[in-house]
Symmetry: C2
Subunit: 204 residues, 2 copies
DNA sequence: ATTTTCACTGGACAGCCTGTCTTTCATCGG
DNA sequence: CCGATGAAAGACAGGCTGTCCAGTGAAAAT
């Protein structure tokens, strides 16, 4: 039973295409009805794919949402957030970083709301993708705090850890959403308020 | 068809007892497995009651959770929060209020986490109970802001509305939880940090 | 041209959960 | 004791998940 070699070109592309269609369908589902549970049946129909194909490609419901979250990160450019706002002045960089994150939050608000809530509600619903995001955010907060400390911008009674904790809190999706959705403030306003809060609390 | 009168004594008590048992069962369910969806089946079994009784008493799943949230509020004393911390000094009152709220959040953390996430995910999952809580919190935030303004404690570049918005954000469950669970800080620490943030951002 | 490989289908199935409906049971007034 | 009343139990239909598998059609190899 000598297995002959088998290079895929067209078929691999088609496969990638269906994967994309499914992920896009999830996005559409969440965006159009963020307040309703996402049925895989609907996702499959939207992607013009059999329901079993979803399981075939992503393994499970959790796997699908994990992939979806990962994809959203990638496309939203969350990962490049840090480098993109590397300003020589730590304080300016902080403001820029906050503004950038808030803008992304706003762009995908409904979808992120659903994703975060799902992650909170059942641990494996999104397969740890949200946890990974949050870990990255924690690292980012610590990096920002470090830079402020290095440049002597922190108040004397504020340690780097404390600064990192506060930035972690203020740059979270929930902080954004409480002002953006809860108080109907425009994105720029939200970013401004949060940046100001961070500065007044942490900087000398 | 003259309906004769019908005084309930034993039965009414028993009924009230059943209601309590069911609500307590919900609490137990949420506390023991906050990261898993609550099945009414399990609630009923825990309350030593038929599942249909749950529907009979509370109407629907949403109704049950609405009643549960209401009950939690009542027992947790959320409603009395405002009066309890009416300090002559607005700034002291603010600190006290924040500490009080955070302590309550901590006491019921797991349950509240589930409740809030459910409310976010599907609007009628908790039958608007969370919305009512949040409305009360918004009023509280505005009250605190007003008091600060009246006593001339606000920075000149901060309006009462802005102060209310920030207090609204900082006193939310999510802000608490990001520090308490996300950063593993003890309650007192969390309250301290949030109160300090509020003061430094808002007060002169 | 023929064979092999593989993504995808389509349907069947058990399992869990919800919500409703009907039936049974315990308590109350007379 | 009896009939009335409301609480509780059980049966039922419907929806969604996750698994399984025989089958199909098109790309790739020979």
């Amino acid at each position: 039973m000598a297995t002959r070699k088998y290079d895929q070109r067209l078929r691999a592309e088609a496969s990638e295409e269906t994967r994309r269609r499914i992920l896009d369908a999830v996005y559409t589902c969440l965006r159009e009805a963020p307040a309703e549970p996402v049925a895989l049946d609907k996702v499959a129909r939207l992607a013009r794919v059999s329901r079993s194909t979803v399981y075939l490609v992503f393994g499970s419901r959790g796997g699908l949402f994990a992939a979806f979250a990962e994809d959203l990160l990638e496309r939203g450019g969350f990962s490049r957030m840090l480098e993109a706002t590397a300003h020589p002045n730590a304080r300016e960089g902080l403001r820029g970083g906050i503004h950038g994150v808030m803008t992304m939050y706003a762009a995908h608000r409904d979808v992120l709301r659903a994703l975060y809530s799902m992650a909170m509600l059942s641990a494996d619903a999104v397969g740890g993708a949200v946890q990974r995001i949050e870990q990255g955010r924690a690292a980012g907060a610590y990096y920002r705090a470090m830079r402020l400390a290095d440049q002597g911008q922190l108040r004397p009674d504020v340690t780097t850890e404390e600064a990192a904790d506060l930035l972690w809190m203020l740059t979270g999706f929930d902080s954004f959403d409480l002002l953006y959705t809860g108080r109907s403030l425009p994105v720029d306003r939200v970013a401004e308020r949060i940046a100001t809060t961070a500065e007044r609390t942490l900087c000398r």
